[in-house]
């Protein structure tokens, strides 16, 4: 579908909802503020529903579905690393100890970000697959060093997806 009038409308709605909601936050202590916050939230939800409804109109993307749980585990491990560091501030007193705990926390976060998450996203990466949605999309990589041209050819030959 690419960019469309519907997208523009729902984006406009999103902005209006956001501004109204922020007006509500600014005056949250008053009744009018609470009302504005509620109205803004409703408009924001409406815009998101709109976006969700027009999402299927998009053409097929080359990205294949990958394990959802693993992605959230990766983000969770990253967050856990931060919590370990914060815990170190409470439990450990000396500078050396706090540095060590912070390094452990950073290591844990890096494991989540650089270890778990790329593995989750690349598990079913479209460039690995010779079949399925990627082929339909005409974007499958050939064995070895495929080129952009080959993919263009595949795309043209198979009829580019809607």
């Amino acid at each position: 579908m690419a960019a469309s009038k519907s997208q523009g409308s729902y984006f406009g709605l999103f902005l209006v909802g956001g501004i109204v909601a922020c007006g509500g936050i600014a005056y949250a202590a008053t009744g009018a503020g609470k009302l504005l916050l509620l109205v803004g939230a409703v408009i924001l939800v409406a815009s998101m529903v709109g976006f969700f409804k027009i999402k299927p109109l998009e053409g097929e993307t080359p990205v294949l579905s990958s394990p959802e749980a693993m992605k959230w585990v990766g983000a969770g491990v990253a967050t856990l690393g931060w919590l370990v560091t914060l815990g170190g501030l409470r439990v450990v007193q000396g500078n050396g100890g706090r540095i060590v705990v912070a390094l452990i926390g950073i290591g844990l976060s890096l494991f989540g970000i650089l270890g778990v998450l790329p593995a989750a996203f690349n598990k079913t990466a479209f460039w690995k697959k010779p079949s399925g949605a990627a082929t339909r999309a005409g974007v499958t990589s050939r064995s070895g060093r495929a080129t952009v041209e080959q993919e263009m050819t595949a795309s043209t030959a198979m009829g580019v997806t809607k």
Partner: protein, 559 residues
């Protein structure tokens, strides 16, 4: 008879009203103090007398009318604003003028530096667009253009209040007293700032000249962070999802971390609350701006996936070269120019409170950019055989990113070392992200801003030399920021807590927000759109309509 009675009544009424008004006036007017019969005039203090004498010798209008080609006539005591022209100049007038001058110098300094930072948007646009293919030029330029508006709107409405709502107390800008509400929590027996609560829409008490100055300066910093993401996700990112991400980032993700570091939040309180150095120290934003942008770029890049044709089935990557290396290198120079606003401007003033260090900060910035370029060029030349132009540009930017946090605290040799390490680091990081993580970052933004932003934050903990003195304290802790190499290990601990927060909180929050957007809106354009170029489907117009596109086959072979 009747007429006489009416005139009596009228006369009585007038007399009564006169008595009443006179009574009220007497009741409200204090009795004049009894004056001595012949009070001598109050003695004029010697300093005031001296001022008045100088004023009497000031050039007359006739002298001024002759012109002042040497600039030696105007700009004297006669230019001081006096409160009582009849009485003449007083010491109070002179003091007021000095105060006005200090604030004026700091306002002008901060504003002009903010204008320089704003111009960096043009540099980012050129770098990012130059490194992408011509079929996506309009789309990439438009992302860089529109991110300014998205960020500004979101920051004005909400972001600024979250970041700076509790940042009162900056003497350079007159105190910023209206920004006096920080939401706090109590933990470990201490109070920790979480987010600001005043300044929404810059309305109400935020309608203040100092607040306006700090808003402008902080806004352009925020926009720099946002525009980092557009480069990393170029050539396959839906324009509408980019717009949504930018608004949310400008309103929430960036301001939250910026509050913790710069707005009186808990990271800045690590020194006062738990004795970690001077608290998290990030002078101009290696962490706040560049790491936040770089880590958000990584989060979105993971979700959006690599460009079609970037990776082969065996996992090897193909180079997809950009369309305009001249735009890239000119863009880098524009960014380096803007960085002179970024780092020296972060003193938020040029007058008093140790702000004369701006010269040292500017030189540190310049040197780190230089050595960053050398680091990247030498690395590429020695390891790949060619002094690669795009990596040279990235080396310059990496050095600048890395020196951003320590620029206010380190010596010139340290700045050179930090920049050189950054130049090598960016090359290693680009290769790691592309070949090991299989994350496609067309412009190297994750490495330039994310990796080197973290390096910059860390380097404060090592290289800060304890010579800076911004009003005698930093983050409310007396003394200067001092790193491990100069004897303070606790500052390194504070920096590590900051890095952990960037990785564990900022990345995770950005990832979660963009995962939700992925499910609701979708980040990626269709394969058809991507292959044909995003200019027509997403923007409705080619960036270069008169260009004849080479077929991808020739393009690919040339690469």
């Amino acid at each position: 008879m009747k007429a006489r009675r009416r005139s009596h009544v009228l006369a009585f009424c007038i007399a009564a009203a006169t008595v009443a008004v006179a009574g009220m006036a007497l009741a409200q007017t204090p009795a004049p103090p009894a004056q001595p019969a012949s009070a001598p005039p109050a003695p004029v203090p010697p300093a005031t007398a001296e001022l008045r004498e100088a004023a009497s010798k000031a050039p007359a209008a006739a002298d001024l009318a002759k012109g002042d080609p040497g600039g030696t006539v105007i700009g004297n005591v006669a230019d001081v604003t006096v409160t009582d022209a009849k009485a003449g100049i007083t010491l109070g007038d002179a003091g007021n003028q000095i105060g006005q001058n200090k604030i004026a110098i700091n306002f002008v300094w901060t504003l002009v530096c903010g204008f320089l930072v704003m111009f960096m948007q043009a540099g980012f646009a050129m770098v990012e667009s130059g490194l992408t293919r011509v079929k996506n030029a309009n789309h990439t330029y438009m992302m860089n253009f529109f991110v300014y508006g998205c960020g500004l709107l979101a920051y004005w409405v909400l972001g600024f209040a979250i970041q700076m709502g509790g940042a009162a107390g900056n003497g350079n800008l007159g105190g910023l007293n209206p920004l006096n509400a920080e939401h706090t929590v109590s933990l470990l027996g201490k109070t920790w700032g979480i987010f600001g609560e005043t300044g929404y829409f810059l309305a109400g008490t935020s309608y203040d000249v100092g607040v306006m100055v700090i808003f402008l300066f902080q806004m352009v910093f925020m926009d720099t962070a946002l525009t980092i993401v557009t480069g990393a996700c170029a050539e396959r990112w839906k324009f509408v999802t980019f717009s949504l991400t930018s608004v949310i980032m400008g309103a929430l993700t960036y301001p939250l971390f910026a509050n913790w570091a710069w707005g009186g939040g808990w990271l800045s309180q690590l020194g006062t609350n738990v004795g970690l150095g001077k608290g998290y120290a990030d002078f101009a934003g290696s962490g706040v701006v560049h790491s936040v942008g770089g880590l958000t770029a990584l989060a979105v890049c993971l979700i959006v996936g690599p460009r079609i044709g970037k990776y082969n089935r065996d996992g090897t990557s193909n180079p997809i070269v950009g369309h305009d290396i001249s735009a890239v290198l000119i863009g880098c120079f524009i960014l380096a120019f803007g960085w002179f606003g970024f780092n020296p401007g972060s003193t938020l003033g040029a007058s008093s409170n140790g702000n004369l260090r701006i010269g040292a900060i500017a030189v540190a910035t310049m040197l780190a950019g230089c050595t960053g370029t050398f680091g990247a060029i030498l690395y590429m030349w020695i390891s790949k055989g060619k002094p690669d132009a795009s990596m040279s540009g990235n080396g310059l930017l990496a050095g600048l990113v890395a020196i951003t946090a320590p620029s206010g605290f380190v010596s010139a040799p340290s700045a050179a070392i930090i920049g050189f390490v950054a130049g090598i680091l960016v090359c290693v990081s680009v290769s790691f992200i592309e070949n090991v993580l299989k994350v496609d970052d067309p412009v190297g933004a994750i490495s330039v801003h994310g990796t080197n932003g973290l390096w910059g934050v860390l380097s404060v903990g090592f290289f800060a030399d304890g010579t800076s003195n911004y009003g005698g304290s930093w983050n409310g802790v007396t003394g200067s920021v001092t790193g491990l190499f100069y004897g303070d290990a606790s500052q390194l601990a504070a920096q590590l807590v900051g890095i952990s927060t960037l990785l564990g909180f900022v990345f995770s929050l950005s990832f979660a927000i963009n995962m939700v957007l992925e499910h609701v809106v979708g980040h990626r354009v269709s394969a058809e759109t991507e292959l044909n170029g995003l200019d027509i489907p997403e923007m409705g117009q080619l960036g270069y309509p008169e260009f004849v596109f080479r077929p991808e086959i020739a393009y690919s072979k040339a690469a």
